[in-house]
């Protein structure tokens, strides 16, 4: 069972579990550098400069005809469209629908992944029996499920939620499974010697220990929940950001497609920053350098 596939967790593989207390002293722990730390002014300037360069280059290229505005639109047109969406308020409904679907997928997929991950990590025989099934399900390209879910759950939000759940579930499941299995044996023995019953073991030892794994996957999970919602909407819906982009695409409205992409990116980055803050709060017992995201 140790060979459970890690599925969509790949980008997080560099993360090491932090379940063993590092033997570092309290010394100065604030030497956070590079990407994880506060961005230094020179880097910030370069980042802004690059953004300006790209946007300006796009705009100039589009105006001079180096790139075809029909296929590539232009920053001013995209900004204008976003302004128009915000002005009329029509974007709010679509955005809320997508976020609602993503949130439901995240919660349902997360709870299922957590529960089943825990169960299988504790029940070795069951895990061994289910191993090939989990492997097959995880190996399945999830997009092929979208049409089935459309048939089963209709054009409303639930087909998108179901689709998002299949994406989120496996990420949370594998991380929980791994997190619980990798719990330091000594911590468990110590808690048992201090009188911990099974339920107390889960609450005080296994769950907190798995938390660092689950949180390392939360960024990916949030991303996949939104991917699930958008792709689901793209394939068939009457509302949502995916629907908006699909509509724009249907009328060769590249500006609309780009505007939709920009809005989605901004929202996802904002949510990611929020997840960072939650993570930092809940994992404040960890030494700063062990956290994945700065």
């Amino acid at each position: 069972m140790s060979a459970l596939p890690t599925g969509p967790r790949a980008p997080e593989l560099s993360k090491t579990p932090a379940d063993t207390a590092p033997s570092r002293s309290a010394g100065p722990r604030r030497r956070r550098t590079g990407w994880t730390g506060r961005v230094r002014p020179a880097v910030l300037t370069a980042q802004l400069g690059l953004a300006v360069l790209l946007v300006a280059g796009w705009e100039v290229g589009s105006r001079t005809g180096v790139v075809d505005p029909f296929f590539f639109s232009s920053p001013t047109a995209v900004a204008g469209r976003i302004g128009q969406w915000l002005g009329s308020g029509e974007i709010a409904g679509h955005l809320l629908t997508t976020l609602l679907e993503a949130a439901l997928a995240l919660v349902i997929g997360g709870v299922l992944g957590l529960g089943i991950g825990f169960l299988l990590a504790r029940a070795r025989t069951l895990a061994a029996v289910l191993d090939p099934y989990i492997k097959v399900l995880n190996a399945l390209p999830r997009v092929v499920l979208a049409p089935i879910f459309l048939l089963w759950f209709g054009l409303g939000i639930w087909s998108k939620v179901a689709f998002g759940v299949t994406l989120v579930f496996f990420i949370v499941f594998f991380n929980t499974y791994q997190g619980v299995r990798e719990v330091d044996r000594v911590l468990v023995d110590n808690a048992r010697m201090l009188g911990a019953k099974e339920s107390q073991l889960i609450r005080h030892v296994l769950l907190p220990s798995a938390m660092s794994w689950i949180f390392s996957s939360l960024h990916t999970s949030v991303g996949f929940a939104i991917v699930g919602a958008v792709v689901g909407e793209y394939l068939g819906a009457s509302e949502g950001m995916g629907y908006l982009i699909a509509q724009a695409e249907g009328t060769f409205d590249t500006t609309g497609v780009f505007a939709g992409m920009v809005v989605l990116s901004v929202v996802v980055v904002a949510i990611d920053l929020l997840v960072n803050r939650v993570e930092r709060r809940l994992l404040r017992w960890q030494p700063a350098r062990e956290r994945t995201h700065g």
């Binding site: 002293s25 309290a26 010697m193 107390q200 005080h204 017992w285």
Partner: protein, 280 residues
């Protein structure tokens, strides 16, 4: 069995511990007999890999003997040993709990609500960690983490203390200070201590009796040495007294043989599972 004062706090009768692994069975200890009277401080020493920790795990009830019996206060042990506290060699503090929460952990588990934090705080002060109540383990030095672990184990007031090289990872000075404080805590506490170490000096200076295990695998008790050094002992001075040197020399002569046997087996590559096909 008779109950009361005359029964041993801990008794091992013919305890054999066999691990079943992929490459065959491995017998860590074979037919170990050991009796520890209540209130005694007994150390178990032996060469590396002689199954010292295995013996502690059997007494703790964390591992069931493959053969033989463990008796606690005259009663056969079933499941976990509820009368014992265990100090592990490795760090066993929960990294997500603060010092005071870690110390209070045992009380929390047994549902003690009233004055839990007050009692924990008392212990934090007692082990010299006042001011560090709300620090997380990663913010502490190795010695401070051990102090927290001592408080965590002692707060539940177990009759029996099982200590598995608790100070092994500390530097020599910190270690002597911790040993001294352990003796101070233990004196007049009436607690029975089973202390595992590979350091004979530590064993002799702390204990009433030193038990020597033979080279593994399949270790057994090869000798028991009463230590008649007067108490209370000052560990910072005791190591230079003639009686200490005498006792140390006597036990070392035997331990040395076992260490050499372990070394020879290791260098002939037979220290692993090969030597124990007759496990049982």
């Amino acid at each position: 069995m008779a109950d009361g004062d005359d029964s041993a706090a801990v008794e091992l009768r013919g305890v054999t511990m066999t691990y079943h692994g992929a490459e065959g069975d491995y017998t860590a200890v074979r037919e170990v007999d050991l009796t520890v009277a209540p209130g005694r401080f007994v150390s178990v020493v032996g060469p590396t890999g002689c199954g010292k920790s295995t013996v502690l795990n059997a007494v703790a009830g964390l591992r069931e003997p493959s053969a033989g019996q463990v008796l606690i206060g005259g009663e056969p042990l079933r499941g976990l040993n509820r009368r014992a506290g265990y100090m592990f060699q490795q760090d066993a503090l929960l990294p997500w709990k603060t010092v005071v929460q870690n110390v209070a952990f045992g009380l929390e588990l047994s549902g003690v609500e009233a004055e839990r934090l007050a009692r924990a705080h008392e212990w934090v002060v007692r082990v010299g960690l006042a001011g560090f109540e709300n620090a997380y383990p990663h913010q502490l030095s190795g010695g401070m983490r051990k102090r927290t672990a001592v408080a965590q184990t002692w707060i539940g007031d177990p009759d029996i203390l099982l200590m598995d090289e608790p100070f092994g990872a500390l530097d020599v000075q910190t270690r002597q200070i911790m040993e001294n404080e352990l003796l101070t805590l233990w004196t007049d506490s009436g607690k029975t201590v089973l202390f595992v170490t590979h350091d004979l000096e530590e064993a002799v200076s702390l204990s009433d009796e030193v038990v020597l295990l033979s080279a593994g695998p399949g270790s057994g008790v090869v000798g028991r040495y009463p230590v008649d050094l007067p108490r209370p002992r000052d560990l910072l001075d005791i190591r230079t007294t003639p009686r200490f040197t005498e006792l140390y020399g006597a036990i070392w002569a035997d331990l040395r043989n076992e260490v050499m046997r372990t070394y020879e087996r290791a260098s002939h590559g037979t220290a692993g599972a090969g030597a124990v096909q007759d496990a049982g």
